[in-house]
Subunit: 180 residues, 2 copies
Amino acid sequence: MRLYLAGPDVFLPDPLARAAALKAICAHYGFIGVSPLDPLAGEPEDWTMMPEALRIARRNEAHIASCDALVANLTPFRGPSADAGTVFELGFMRALGRPVYGWSNDPTPFAHRTRTFAGVTGGHDADGMQIEDFGLADNLMIEGAIHASGGTLTQAASAHAERWTDLAAFAACIAAIRAR
Amino acid sequence: MRLYLAGPDVFLPDPLARAAALKAICAHYGFIGVSPLDPLAGEPEDWTMMPEALRIARRNEAHIASCDALVANLTPFRGPSADAGTVFELGFMRALGRPVYGWSNDPTPFAHRTRTFAGVTGGHDADGMQIEDFGLADNLMIEGAIHASGGTLTQAASAHAERWTDLAAFAACIAAIRAR
């Protein structure tokens, strides 16, 4: 079974080492981990004409479509929510009807994180826009998709300084997929 | 043609009035605008047993699947990127193979917004994580999907205080769809 490894891990200082670490855990549980950084077998030749960013986007879409499930690093990234690219990919896989799994190194509820970010305590931010507060881990489309697809969400309370390196929640997430 | 109207507009103080305003512009150009707040015809009865947040997520997925294209409000929301729910929905529609369009009231490049958010001037944030810098409007999966699907991205430089109310970029986006 092929698992697409979505996450802002690609922005880490040594993204290839990180991808190797994630793949090793997948292999330990009998899965093939597919990284956004992997070359794409049979990549169309005319993609070489595209700007690099657009080519990466096409390649990632193709990688996702080649996988049986998606595992997303939902640790909040530069704001109260998960990384935008990761969330896009989760929505993409959800529409393909395959299971989506999430893990996060920050178990603080989304509404709490949003209020802290916005510097408010009530139901609205300084622009008068509502704080989404359903007791979930992130925007409801994310947890809704995980639930509807039959996936799971694994959270760990990592130290803040270790939230981009700690792999305990990821390993627990992969173990949970194995156990199903 | 039915257009799904994705965006954090649902968090505005009067989200139904906002949805009506967006729909009126769609109607002016001969389109049916579909809001996340619309009731879903034929909603399965057993959804009433679900927690409200998960039911909203399912309903939005069904709305998207019922539409011919998606129009996303990509104005940065609580961080350098667009609203997480909006980005999820954009990825969902992209995987269905239909056109996705975007509009934003902030034309500042994504890399510039990210550096400002992170308080850095170089290529990495305080966690050592890379600043994505391809000269795009947001994470490359977003603009990649718009480009690959044949959609367009419309940007306007609204005053900061009017970025959640100004509909000029939205109207220009809908007009561009009409012109195709």
